[in-house]
Structure formats: C-alpha cells, structure tokens
C-alpha cells in the first residue's frame, strides 16, 4: 500500500516535469510577448524590462533558471500583470478560494448524485427512475454559463435570496457551488444508476435476498460498494471537469479564485502565472487521480495495487 503510494508519487514527477517543460516552451514560442499590450513602449524601456525579467537570455538558459528556481526555491518568479506581487503570492491567495469552491461543489454533487442514481436503479423503469434520470439529463445538457445566469436571475434578482456575486460569506457561496456542482451531480447520478443496475442483477444480490436481508440492507451493504465503482473512477475526470467548470463559475460570479487568472494570464503572456497555474492544476489532478486509484482498490478487494 505505502509502496504503491510512493511509486505513484514518484511516477508523478516525470509527468509533471513533462507538463511543465511543454508549457514552458509553448508559452515562450507563442507569438507575442508580455509587454505587447503596453502601448508604445520605447525600445530601451522594453529592453530594460526584458533584462529585468531575464527574458533576453537564450531560451535554454531561461529554462534552466526557471527549473532551478522552481525546484530549489519553489519560486515561480514575478507576475508581470500585477507588478510587485510574485506568482506564489497570487496563487497562495486564490488557490484556497478555488479549492473551497471545488470541494463544496464535489460534496454537493455526491450528495445529490448518488441518492438520485440509487433511486433510479432501485425503482428501475418506474416513475421515480424516469423523473430522476430526466432531471439528470437536463443537468448534463445545460452548460454552466447558461445555468449561472438563470440561477442569478431567479434567486438573486427576483427573489433576493442570495447575492449576485463575490465570495465573502456562506450566503455568497450558495449559487456558485450549486452552479459548479449540479452538472457533476447529474453525471454522478447516471453513473451510479448504471453501476447499481449492474450490481443489482448480480448473483450475490440474489444470495443476499435468499439470506432474508432487508431491501435497505441489501442496497446499503451489498450493492452500493460495487455500484459506486464507476463513480469512483469518474472522480478523477470529474474533478478536472469541476476545475474547468470553476473557470466559468469564477468568471460569472466574480470570485477571486485561480481559474479566473488562467485565461487572463495566457492572454497576457504572463509567463510565470501561466506556469504557476498549470503546475498547481496539473499536480492537483494527478494527486487526485492517485487518490482515486487508492479508493478504488479500497472498495474492490480484487484489485491489486501494482501500478
């Protein structure tokens, strides 16, 4: 077990390195530079700026310095767009917000999705199933950037229940979390239903019935574990879907999270920030994927961990 974790974590290093290297060169080979936006910068100022940020050095030297800073000092350099603040500071401020949003949304998605899927499977082909699955179908078919304005229109501008934007109190969090979590909940509901339907037909469920267990106990104790396996393997991609979703949600609700910076940084050629956000998202996803594999093995004793 611990050996597996160690191996997986070590295995992440080359992948991360690959991502970082790829993005590093991608960013720098892209046309345009960080100071293009500043109109009519005199050439000598431009040169001074580039010298200050080490941008006039040969590419490979820049790469070497970048890696050295990253590995030995965990330093991602300065942020061009917001002078005087380092990329690390920006990430340290915005990452917790994004994590809060992501985790709350995932909790909501599981709390809504799993019961909905179980109901669908247990009441297969009956009214409750049809209703649950229609709701889920709407959930996966409505993009978040459509859902968000509708939520705002109904709950903020008409009913005045929740604020329109920002991330300050629990009341501020309700709409963004719903908006980020609901489409994921719909996916989870469909997966749960599919997984449960398969398990419910298994021979060992018949055995459980023949033992005289109650229906509740059969579902809870015997079926849920196997039925949730597809959900567990979805959690990895699901989290990355949530990250992407949070790009939208953070933009619409004006939440000071990390997702907002990402596109902005790329558009501005803010090299350090792009690298930082990529690195954080990339490692987050990989760690989550490893955690998902562990959870899978914990749920299914037949799976041997030897990756």
């Amino acid at each position: 077990m611990s050996r597996f974790v160690l191996r997986r974590v070590l295995g992440l290093v080359p992948t991360l390195w690959l991502v970082v290297t790829l993005v590093f060169f991608l960013v720098r080979l892209a046309p345009g530079g960080p100071f293009d936006a500043e109109r009519a910068v005199p050439p000598e100022v431009m040169a001074a700026l580039e010298a200050k940020y080490n941008l006039d050095a040969p590419l490979l030297v820049q790469y070497r310095d970048f890696l050295a800073d990253l590995v030995f000092r965990a330093d991602l350099g300065p942020c061009f767009k917001y002078p005087g603040r380092s990329v690390r500071e920006i990430i340290a401020l915005s990452l917790p917000v994004s994590m809060q949003l992501g985790c709350l949304a995932m909790v909501l998605a599981l709390l809504v999705g799993v019961p909905l899927g179980v109901v669908g499977a247990v009441r297969h082909n009956r009214a409750a199933d049809t209703i649950a699955m229609s709701v889920a179908m709407v959930g996966i078919s409505v993009p978040r950037f459509v859902l968000a304005p509708i939520l705002i229109l109904v709950f903020s501008l008409t009913l005045y229940w929740f604020p329109v934007a920002l991330w300050e109190s629990p009341r501020h969090m309700v709409l963004p979390v719903i908006c980020a979590g609901l489409p994921t909940a719909a996916y989870i509901a469909r997966l749960t239903r599919g997984g449960m339907l398969e398990v419910i037909r298994a021979d060992f469920i018949r055995t459980a019935r023949a033992k005289g267990l109650s229906e509740w106990r059969i579902i809870w104790r015997h079926a849920l574990r196997g039925g949730l396996l597809p959900v567990v393997s979805f959690l990895g991609p699901g989290f990355s879907g949530l990250l992407v979703g949070s790009l939208v949600v953070e933009t619409i609700f004006n939440i000071p999270g990390m997702g907002r910076y990402f596109v902005e940084a790329a558009l501005n050629r803010d090299y350090g920030l792009v690298m930082g956000v990529t690195l954080v998202y990339g490692s987050l996803l990989m760690v989550l994927n490893t955690a998902v594999d562990l959870a899978y093995a914990w749920l299914d004793p037949r799976v041997k961990l030897d990756g």
Partner: protein
Amino acid sequence: MAEVQDNSLRRDAWRRLKRNRAAVVSGCILAVLTLCCVLVPELSRWRYDEANLALGPTSPSWGHWMGTDYLGRDLMTRVFFGGRISLAVGVVATMVSFVIGVIYGGVAGYFGGRIDNLMMRLVDVMYTFPFLILVILLMVFFAGKDGAPYGVWVSVLGVFVADPKDPAYFPVFQIVFVFAALGAISWLTMARIVRGQVLTLREQPFVEAARTMGVSHTGIIFRHLLPNALGPIIVYATLTVPQVMLTEAFLSFLGLGTQEPLASWGLLASGGAEMMDIYPWILVFPAVMLAATLFCFNFLGDGLRDALDPQIRGGQR
C-alpha cells in the same frame, strides 16, 4: 457463423431501438434540427452577419421570429448558422477521436502482450495529463494569424485555392483548429473501450479460424474484430458528441472557440447570458437549441446502449 449471428443481432438491436420512444423522438428531433441548420440560413431574408445598428436588439416579432441581437442581426439566422458550426464541431471532433481511438485501441488490443501493456500505460499517463489546460493554451497561442499552425494551414489550403491568405478563410481555419484540438483530447477513453472489446473478441473461435486460414493482421482487425466490437464504440461515440459540443461552448464562452462574426450555440448563449435580464431571448433561443441537441444526443446514446447491449436492460431472462 459470425456473420449470421451479427446480422440477427443487428436486427434485434434495431427493433429494440425503434421501440425506445425517447431515442426515436430524439433521433427525429436531431434530424429536423440538422435540416433547419442547413436550410434556414440559406432561405432566410437576412444574412447571419448582417448588422443593423439602428435597429438594435428587438424582441421576437413577425419580421424576426427570434428577434434580433445587440447589433440588430436576425437571431434566427444566427442561431441556425451557429447550429451548423456546433453540430459540425461535435461530429467532426468525434470522428477525429473515433479514428485515433479505434486505430490505437485496435492495435493495442489485437497484438496484446507487451505492445498492449506499453500502449495502455501511455494512455494511463495521458489520462493524468491536464489536457484542457493545454488546449486552452493552444487556443490562446496558436489559433491566431501569427502562429505556426496557421502557416501550415495556409500552405495546405494553397494546394486547393488560389489565395489561401484571404481573410475569408481565416474563420474556417479557427474552426478546424477547434476540431483538431477537441478530437485530440477525447480519444483516450475511446481507445480503452476499443481495446477492451478487441481483447475479448480476439479469443473467439471465429478469429482463430480466420487466423488459421491465413487472413492478414489488418484483415482480421478491420474485417473481423472491429465490426463485432462496434456496439459499445458507437454508443460511446454518440455520447462523445454532446461532450465535445459542450467543450466547444465552454471554449467559446472563454472567447477561445468560435469567433465573431461567426456563431456557434455556445458563443451565442454566452453572449446572450450577459444581458439576460433585459434581452432574455438572446440567451433563450441558442441555449434551448444547445440544450435540446445535447439532450437528444444523450437520449439517443442511451437508447443505442440499451439496444446494443441487452444485458444492461435487465429483467430479461
């Protein structure tokens, strides 16, 4: 033997599909929508990019059935024109992922052993790759006129047309770029499914038989294995279309997908979302189209899965 079985299976599947009302209705709606997307922009009195700033946004009326947008453009023409692009992105990107996935998965599953091990390990590694981040970066950096991909595009297009640098072709390049990018990131699961199917089919007697009769590797893969593995592949492909369309909408929302004055449902809806409290119709029509299309593709995919995989249907024993 395999052939006969195959035919009757297909007929059974077809019959089951036809009895699934939701799937049939979804299929019909999709067909009608596609037809509208083809015809409406051609027959309309307005062009999709014909602005009328004096008119501005107006609500639905006899002149403009879906109203007009901020620039006074006829929304119905734009919605159905955008449908062309949305549907095309969905279908073409799925086809790209289909081709890559089938070849990759087919080869891995068929040869098995070390090759399979290596190829699937690679897929595992790529699964942990934050692809969408890369796509976003790619779109930001290289979908412009000064990126290297545009150079490639110009030289390829130069073979077919006299003036490949004509700005009229630029939007087409951008859309092709979206196709390629989305297709390139969605083939992983397809490859896994194909490989799993081929791996189980490989051991079947009819494949052994073909091998003893001296059929070549490519012959076995494409004539015997893939047709029999097609069920789950089709199902997954059908379910990939809405996913890709949703991703395109997401990219458009970020300003990275389809660009004005072209339109896609995602672009129109995200534009409409900005002022939905004042001009709701600008959001409602494209959003409903997008949602309905995704809805239908998902229902159709579910129906196909039920039809092609009777075991999942349950209760039939």
